[in-house]
């Protein structure tokens, strides 16, 4: 994949806590994305680090950065250095696992196993460099979410017309769709449709979509990589 640099802000910035855009700033953003997917305060988190995250994370503050993201702190927050203490104060139980055995994951990969009051969820993400991230898997389901836009993940039954209903709601709410992709593994399992949009997705949108027939789950991932 060829990187595209569209803005001068892709070169100058971001303002961030060092030392590494991939191992520190990217790690914060992975935590933020995971937390946004969970949509509740995490109570217990097992964090599995792979490859370069596992090998050099200790010298890059990767552990603190991931926790900072889970606490909702941005990559520029000076509280990242004390994120472990803050997580402790918030009564979040966390445990890190460094996986140094050969695996098929990309260089800077992390797996979050998170529990909140109502949910257990597993999220796998990768820091791809320059502070940019990709969410690769949610509960074993492959996705490809950069969180550069507000993202809606709708899990639904494989029935005709569902997407039309969802898109109608978005259009009535004056939400502009950037991209839409449905993934179906077979004819029995649920379908996951990932929709990115320009506007901020509110809980109101979730409450409009959730009651539709054949909808299993609605997840929102908020934009965490804002340019301007």
């Amino acid at each position: 994949m060829m990187d595209r640099y569209d803005s001068i802000l892709d070169i100058v910035g971001p303002a961030m806590i060092g030392p590494s855009s991939s191992h520190t700033a990217g790690a914060v953003r992975l935590g933020l994305a995971a937390c946004s997917i969970l949509n509740e305060k995490p109570l217990k988190v097992n964090i599995h680090l792979y490859n370069s995250f596992a090998n050099t994370g200790a010298g890059h503050g990767t552990h603190k950065a991931l926790l900072a993201g889970l606490l909702g702190l941005p990559p520029s927050s000076e509280k990242i250095c004390i994120a472990d203490k803050l997580a402790h104060n918030e009564n979040i139980k966390f445990k890190f696992f460094n996986n140094k055995l050969p695996n098929d994951y990309p260089p800077n990969t992390v797996k979050f196993e998170m529990s909140s009051k109502n949910w257990d969820i597993e999220v796998i993400g990768v820091s791809i460099g320059g502070g940019l991230i990709n969410i690769l898997e949610i509960d074993g389901f492959e996705v490809n979410i950069s969180a550069e836009y507000e993202t809606l993940i709708v899990t639904h039954k494989d029935k005709i017309g569902i997407l039309a209903e969802v898109l109608t709601i978005l259009s009535k709410e004056k939400i502009n769709v950037v991209s839409i992709e449905s993934v179906r593994h077979n004819k029995i399992d649920d379908v996951k449709t990932v929709i990115t949009v320009d506007n901020i997705l509110t809980e109101h949108i979730r409450t409009l979509i959730k009651p539709l027939k054949h909808i299993v789950r609605v997840r929102i991932i908020h934009k965490i990589q804002e340019l301007w």
């Binding site: 001068i8 100058v12 806590i17 030392p19 700033a25 090998n55 890059h60 503050g61 320059g130």
Partner: protein, 297 residues
Amino acid sequence: MNLFNYETFAEFSKKLKSSNLELIEFIIMREIKMFGVSKKQIYSRLSEYIDIMKQSILNGLKTNKELICLTNDAIRLQKNKKKFLATLEYKILTSAISVAFYNCSMGKIVACPTAGSCGILPGALIPISEKYKLSKNKLINALILAGEIGRIMANQTSISGAVGGCMAECGVASAMTASAIVYCFNGNLESILTAAALSLKNNLGLICDPVAGLVEVPCVKRNGFKAIEALTSAQLALAGIKTAIPLDEILLAMKEISEEMPEKFKETSDGGLAQTPTGLKFKRKLQKIKLLTKSQK
């Protein structure tokens, strides 16, 4: 929109000329058209970045943190009595190393273009702006220019050590900084691009072999070296000295070198300084550190 669609520096120069806009206005107009931002938003964000850059120079000189491989060389430079460099150059060397060290100690910096190379541009530009009493607007304009120079380079090649070695990070940073310095001294577009070309040529083939996979050795001191290199390029360009090979062609060479560069010299720490006996000793030291491997509860 077509006016703002260009890949090479030759196209950039041509479109700039045809626009009848002044250099910085042209770059600002491109951001406005492409992202729907206002000029005010652009100046306010970059003004914030300049404040963080200034603060990171000061903060780096105050931190006593011990890194895995290094202690604070910026403080050492500040206390040193055996100075032979001119005052400005000495301050630039100290400032660049200060920011790079502060970055390593989990301080707040502005990536420029990356975190590993974050000391080069502020290290050079802030002391120059102080000595020559440049206005904040002038400094912001220099940053806008540096951003656009770096952006065109990044799209032709890369700004990632994992793709192009250190020439992609510190090399591009040095080129951006050289251009910005020429702008600060009112050089024309030709000298601005020449300065970038001179710096970039001097970086071709520079590998990324970080000891223990950290942004410490050789990165922190290299930020100091590269800030001085940028000064040299800018001075040569302002003297009207030309580059024998045009900037766009240097980028083609850089791309070729990136592609041919062995993986072990691209941020993997599988070669170079990282695999020396002492380099490996630091790696073992890092592996012994158990940070937060367990919840405290």
